[in-house]
Amino acid sequence: MVHHARLSTPSLMVLLSVAVVASGQAQGRGPTPGFEVGQPFPGLALPRLDDGRTASLADFRGKKLLLHVFASW
């Protein structure tokens, strides 16, 4: 199950509390709790790597995305 943020309120308490662990099963490889096909991606604000400004995936609305959650190690 995914908890999806409705970001119409400026309350970050709401914004952040919805990105909660939930169970889910990846297609093909390992578990990916919190993500589920057919559900919106959590509406989470995060700093950008290039300039530190806060952004979210909503900034890319209207585009098809391939999102990689990763680390360089």
Partner: protein
């Protein structure tokens, strides 16, 4: 990930596909260097605190134009299938419409009243400070996460984020004594609560002993810099250079040096520095081990600013001697830090060494005696001296 990038270059160029990354890493600037190396110029968001609560990386998601997840971990590099099942499809918007853009909240209005507030409220406040507060509010984020874990000791994410914040402060000019040790302790508490969380586990392994390493974490940095420079570019700078454990390769067995090593001050005659000139900070990763297991000591030496202390490099290397009790093994009992070429310097010096606990021990906490010998000067009175500083390398033994 570079495979997806290479396979979708045309789609990215035509605007049919937007690549985006979210970094799950303590030092995101290292990911910037990685992206430069692989020539991946797409937008990256930083999630060092793991607000997404992912248990593992990498994860790839195909997300439609409305922000809805359509595929999780599509077959790696299979662009034809992605085209057929995702890019060529038209998707309906989710019921209720699309999300609004997140806006910065009034951080102080989110703060629960002192001495009260639920663990959830303190977590939300800490998360808000982590995202919107920046380095200037890091102390407040640490205090908020401390308030979040106090009433709920099983708050794994709270402990993890507290560890992240402590390590961030440790890597900044605002560092406080014990920040690195607290980071490791909170990461360990988080992992003890949730042993299946690999993001927690990797933070510890990044600094931990070779026997616990799945791979070298940052060995790619050397190659990346060389190849970037060969292209005529300047490598993106790193705030904190990876070192020691972060480069170390995994090992299958603990090996203690068999080379005879002579103790440099066996009778303890060298005059002591009680920390007036050089501070020594030690961190053990992990802080507690099972009998027979290994840990890594991080030993950090810093000249004291108040005394305008600095290293005198016109003599010998900094020396470090470890005298483990019976049954305990260290890789080397005698270690040195090479002096730089300039006659004086004020750099932080670091040693790392691994230790193995005995297979059988009744001890629950062991303080392994050690000492450093170094040449140091202070500019207040203009005195240079050779000094010894005694330290204890602390490690706990878990009950089996």
């Amino acid at each position: 990930m570079p495979g997806w990038h290479d396979a979708t270059k045309d789609l990215q160029a035509s605007g049919d596909l937007q690549m985006v990354g979210i970094i799950q890493e303590q030092h995101p600037d290292r990911a910037r260097l990685f992206m430069q190396w692989k020539e991946m110029g797409w937008p990256i968001l930083v999630d060092a605190y793991n607000l997404l609560e992912v248990p593992v990386v990498p994860i790839t998601l195909a997300i439609d134009e409305h922000g809805v997840i359509r595929q999780i971990n599509p077959r790696r590099g299979d662009v034809d299938r992605l085209q057929e099942t995702f890019l060529s499809q038209t998707f309906d918007p989710p019921p209720g419409g699309a999300d609004d853009l997140p806006r910065a909240p009034n951080l102080d209005a989110l703060r629960p009243p002192a001495g009260s507030g639920s663990a959830g409220a303190w977590m939300a406040y800490g998360d808000a400070l982590a995202v919107w507060g920046g380095p200037d509010r890091r102390d407040d984020a640490i205090a908020a996460y401390e308030s979040a874990v106090r009433p709920n000791a099983e708050n794994a994410l709270g402990h993890f984020r507290l560890g992240v914040a402590h390590r961030m402060r440790y890597d900044s000019d605002a560092r406080r004594d014990g920040d690195f040790t607290k980071a490791v302790e909170h990461w360990m508490m988080a992992l003890d609560i949730d042993p299946n969380q690999y993001i927690f586990r990797r933070r510890i392994q990044q600094y931990g002993p070779r026997l616990d390493k799945p791979y070298p974490f940052y060995d790619w940095v050397v190659t990346a810099r060389a190849e970037i420079e060969a292209r005529g570019e300047a490598p993106s700078p790193l705030v904190v250079e990876p070192r020691g454990a972060e480069f170390a390769r995994p090992a299958e067995a603990f090996v203690a040096s068999e080379k005879p090593e002579d103790e440099p001050d066996p009778r303890g005659r060298v005059l002591r520095d009680e920390g007036q000139f050089i501070t020594i900070e030690t961190t053990t990763v992990p802080p507690a081990v099972e009998p027979g297991a290994t840990a890594r000591f991080h030993i950090v030496f810093r000249p004291v600013e108040e005394n305008e202390s600095h290293w005198n490099n016109e003599a010998e290397d900094l020396a470090f001697w470890i005298d483990p009790p019976a049954g305990w093994e260290v890789e080397h009992r005698y270690l040195t830090v090479s002096i730089p070429p300039e006659p004086v310097s004020r750099e932080t010096r670091v040693l790392e060494v691994e230790v193995q606990a005995p297979e059988r021990t009744r001890a629950r906490r062991v303080n392994i005696p050690a000492y450093a010998l170094y040449y140091v000067c202070e500019d207040v009175n203009g005195v240079c001296m050779y000094r010894r500083q005694d330290v204890e390398l602390q490690i706990a033994v878990k009950r089996q």
